[in-house]
């Protein structure tokens, strides 16, 4: 059996990744970043929110979009889980419901990249729940 991955190898891995990242220079200016929040309360988790979150993390990186993906508690739209809140720089947050990977792909291509509104937006006056 091969050697099990450990923290030491993680350090090597890190150097490797770092040399590649510098080329791309990710900004550390949150105001220019796309913010993606995936609702992860019981209803969200039960309907697949984890897979959607992983999809956003991987795809946004692959497509070179400077974004920060985080999780949030219940946003109050259990009937439409998984739900995802997208905030484009300088814009109001928009919440999408019933997000599967196909919808997530559309959100990235149409809304995040081009700013075009697409189906699936939850039409309510939305206040962020964090506070």
């Amino acid at each position: 059996m091969g050697k099990v991955k450990s923290l030491d190898d993680l350090k090597k891995m890190k150097e490797e990744v770092q040399s590649r990242i510098n080329l791309r220079e990710k900004s550390d200016h949150p105001e220019n970043q796309v913010q993606v929040k995936v609702a992860m309360a019981t209803c969200g988790i039960a309907s697949g929110a984890k897979e959607i979150m992983d999809y956003f993390i991987n795809e946004l990186d692959k497509r070179n979009i400077d974004a920060i993906v985080t999780q949030t508690g219940c946003m109050g739209y259990c009937y439409a889980e998984p739900t995802v809140e997208i905030t484009l720089p300088g814009k109001e947050p928009v919440v999408f419901g019933y997000v599967d990977t196909k919808k997530a792909d559309e959100i990235i291509e149409e809304y995040i990249k081009k700013g075009e509104l697409i189906d699936g937006i939850i039409p309510v006056t939305y206040k962020t729940i964090d506070e």
Binding site: L10, K11, M13, M40, A41
Partner: protein, 190 residues
């Protein structure tokens, strides 16, 4: 909830909502005692005794976004179905500990499911929170501690996809070490 790791993700979300800065997840598989124990502890804002006594009532919640809360009662229901139980200790300002016991070989015990993916999801989505995951099985104990990981990574973000992938594999490989009877594929890990 399809499997135990989804419960874990869910209960840990309660800790995040309670502003925890450290979450400890411990799984203890004990075939001799025929028990499968999951403990999730946090240093979040905790709750009063009154609230704590009621949280596993179906539908109890203090949230204002929706009238019902089902996370803890689902966990309780699932544990009890296997002849197990849950108990919750909490203190305002100190934190909360949720302990659930399942009967190991009970037919209704859900599989663990994708625990590596669950841990990584929690870690990547909440970089400011520290997480310690310990897993004890027949061949030993594995401990995953984000404080060590962050120290090794220095200024590299834990949410970097390559790093996430690496950590995911690292957890999976270590789990196979402590429980060689289980399939390597994390999704089937029971």
């Amino acid at each position: 909830m399809k499997d135990l790791s989804m419960h874990i993700l869910d209960i840990a979300q309660n800790s995040i909502t309670a502003d925890a800065s450290l979450i400890q997840i411990a799984i203890h598989e004990d075939m001799e005692k025929n028990s499968y124990e999951i403990v999730i502890a946090d240093d979040g804002k905790g709750m009063t005794k009154e609230i704590c006594d009621r949280v596993t009532d179906p539908y109890f919640t203090t949230r204002t976004t929706r009238k019902v809360g089902i996370g803890l009662s689902l966990l309780r229901q699932n544990a009890e179905q296997t002849g197990g139980h849950i108990d919750i200790h909490s203190e305002p300002g100190k934190g909360t500990k949720v302990r659930s016991i399942f009967t190991y070989d009970h037919i209704d015990r859900p599989a663990l499911g994708d625990i590596s993916g669950t841990i990584i999801t929690l870690v990547a989505a909440n970089p400011e929170i520290d997480l310690i995951y310990t897993h004890t099985a027949q061949n030993g104990k594995y401990c995953f501690d984000t404080r060590e990981i962050k120290a090794a990574l220095e200024d590299m973000k834990i949410s970097n996809p390559k790093i996430r992938q690496y950590l995911h594999e690292m957890i999976e490989e270590n789990l196979t070490e402590i429980n060689p009877d289980q399939p390597v594929d994390g999704s089937k890990y029971i």
